[in-house]
Symmetry: C2
Subunit: 416 residues, 2 copies
């Protein structure tokens, strides 16, 4: 069972918008045993879309298109699909009613002809009702191949995928069980890790795929396989993990959540042990807090945080002593530790983490080298900090600092 | 001049990693007059990569591949390219030296054979030296078509694109000037905007493309064109904008920066007028601060912020009175305004913005409906707030609140 995702829109091809839809769709397809063969981003251009449809039809069983379903003139997906299926567009009453009701509830302006036209669908299509927007999803079939067209607006697409596309695909196709299991590993480079586990990797059965995913400050090692016997698939991956774990005993730190990341692992653990967290961020500028709060349930463990970007705010808001800053510099272990301890007290939390550093490109209030970052962790009875140099690319420094902070925090929390 | 970007890696096709490389490459190519025809994500599979190369060669002039250049066994791009060019891999001394020097400086472990093998390149390739990593970039030519292979690690890819790929493409090809100009528009839906500017849109010359980009709480309207006479291209777009602006006088709020966004526009304006900002975030959880601090120069205007996620922290850290919270609820205009005023005082800033609301999925400390958000703006002499309901998808509520907060802030700052 193979799928291709075709995303339509000039905004993707000029780099104005990053395609996040495809990753979501791919995850959902994988969960029901459909593998994604290819993701293709094409222009809002009839010839190009027709060519992409034809190519995809020859390679895969399921073709999912997103984008180009809006009410404006640059949206041509619907017409193009009708042409591909030698079909005509007809007005769908249920879609029109849905549009009218959304209009009445949220927009409260005159319904224009272009809005009504959104209810036009190819006559051969089954409508997938879009309850959170005006562009309907469409499902068409041809020689046991399925074509699905979805709006490009992420939350509309997501609702349709979850509520319509996935249940229908599960009904139609008999799919295998796909399992990805990703190990989080800190402190080992890609080649060192590969060297360490070489014998194990070479002995892996052919149907288990291994992937190395290096990212700033951490490694992810992913095992993937599929099969129709779910229990057997899980057992097999489990056995392989049991074999590899002793080889990376000190560096392994957990599994990447199915859809999540370290911040989810940390959040779940804090919730489980009923402890709370506060953050004091200088160079990471709110990114740590934002990662936690992006997940529902963050209010169970995250008390909040202070973004003390300027030196003065470290004094005024975080109560770091001016003397300490003058003595050791604002980018120092002493200041990082004071930030963590003070934010812990301010928020009455059980754990606190702080960052202070210079992400560049210019030297700031301190004389610290660009890339120098101190990260500190405080609990009610302890505080410690570490110094890093993350090089001289601003985004990289911030991301590495965030990853390292999460790593240190995770170690500290799981220690308890 | 057309290009195709081919990104290689199973992690993209299972949705584990979002492809951000393509957007960056597309932006850079556009700046030198190269249009991206298609972006294709394929598996780490020889047959699939060979097929993608062949397809791309028949459609475009420049093919850029990213990924699959690591030292581990799942990285097969280099071997596959050699096969495509009927070529063999040879050891490149300069690359080996680069690897050794990076190893000595950052890794300080034994150089393994797999690391040395990263210095193997197709004999027909020109090496693009990767100064920040061990995987070399490669440049190959065939019948006036150019094939470029780059590592998938974003900061390595970016350095190679900026320092090697772009200058070389500029030298080799005579490209037109591509201009995208994006107008930021608030408070108009897609179809209402289209209706408003219909006559103008219909009269646009064929070579100017118009795109509507709706996103949470705002619209972007993009005009794109290209030509060999830069001045003429700019003049033409300028004339069209002059014609459309009177039609959207009250809703137009500025231009999207070439690579940036509202937060860049706001940051630049604050820097220009020498004013500062502080944020108090509850439901947006640090995202506002993070958007500002992602850009260099944020220290010029951002004093910092408070993430007051829990009710208690609004009292303890932001000094919001308990009585006010009890009287009006923690999700209220009164509390939002107090948060903005207090964070302004704490950070001694000129502007402050606050958010308080319930992003869901569950009701939190307040009884506010999921999706209810209050946003307040304070200056030294004024404070005001607005109430919104952003529906019941967590990520959407947070993003809409962030966009609306930026909109309100931008209006306030440009008023001054």
């Amino acid at each position: 069972m193979l799928a291709e995702i075709i995303t339509i829109g000039e905004e993707l091809l000029i780099g104005q918008v990053i395609d996040t839809n495809s990753a979501f769709i791919a995850q959902q397809l994988n969960k029901i045993g459909v593998s994604v063969y290819q993701i293709t981003s094409v222009q809002d251009d009839k010839t190009h879309i027709l060519k992409a449809l034809k190519d995809a039809e020859s390679n895969v069983d399921v073709i999912i298109l997103t984008g180009g379903l809006g009410p404006t003139k640059d949206d041509i997906t619907k017409k193009t699909i009708a042409e591909y299926f030698n079909d005509t567009l007809i007005l769908d009453d249920s879609v029109l009613k849905n549009i009218e009701s959304i209009w009445e509830q949220y927009v409260r302006q005159t319904l224009l002809q272009v809005n009504k036209d959104q209810a036009l669908v190819p006559s051969k299509a089954t409508v997938l009702m879009n309850k959170v927007g005006t562009a309907p999803g469409m499902w068409l079939e041809k020689d046991n191949k399925t074509f699905i067209s979805l709006p490009g607006v992420p939350f509309e697409m997501k609702a349709l995928v979850s509520n319509e596309v996935i249940p229908r695909l599960k009904d139609k196709y008999h799919c295998p069980y796909i399992l990805h299991k990703t190990l989080l590993i800190y402190g080992l480079g890609e080649s060192t890790l590969a060297d360490r586990i070489e014998a194990w990797e070479d002995a892996l059965p052919k149907h288990i795929k291994l992937a190395y995913l290096p990212s700033l400050g951490k490694m992810r090692l992913r095992l993937s396989t599929k099969g129709f016997d779910k229990q057997k698939v899980e057992e097999e991956i489990h056995q392989q993990i049991e074999k590899v774990l002793p080889l990376i005993e000190n560096e392994f730190f957990g599994y990447e959540d199915e859809d999540g990341n370290e911040e989810v692992v940390i959040g779940n653990q804090l919730t489980k042990i009923e402890k709370t967290l506060a953050v004091a961020e200088s160079c990471t500028g709110g990114k740590l807090a934002e990662l936690f709060t992006a997940n529902s349930g963050a209010s169970k463990y995250l008390k909040g945080g202070i973004i003390a970007y300027s030196t003065q705010s470290k004094i005024d808001v975080l109560n770091v002593s001016e003397h300490l800053i003058d003595t050791y510099s604002v980018v120092s272990s002493q200041v990082a530790e004071a930030m963590a301890q003070n934010v812990l007290k301010l928020y009455k939390s059980d754990f606190a983490i702080s960052t202070t550093g210079n992400a560049g490109p210019l030297k700031g209030d301190s004389n610290a080298e660009v890339g120098t970052v101190f990260i500190a962790i405080a609990t009610k009875n302890s505080v410690f900090s570490k110094e890093f140099n993350f090089g001289n690319h601003r985004a990289r420094v911030i991301n590495k600092a965030v990853n390292k902070a999460l790593e240190m925090l995770q170690k500290e929390i799981f220690k308890n």
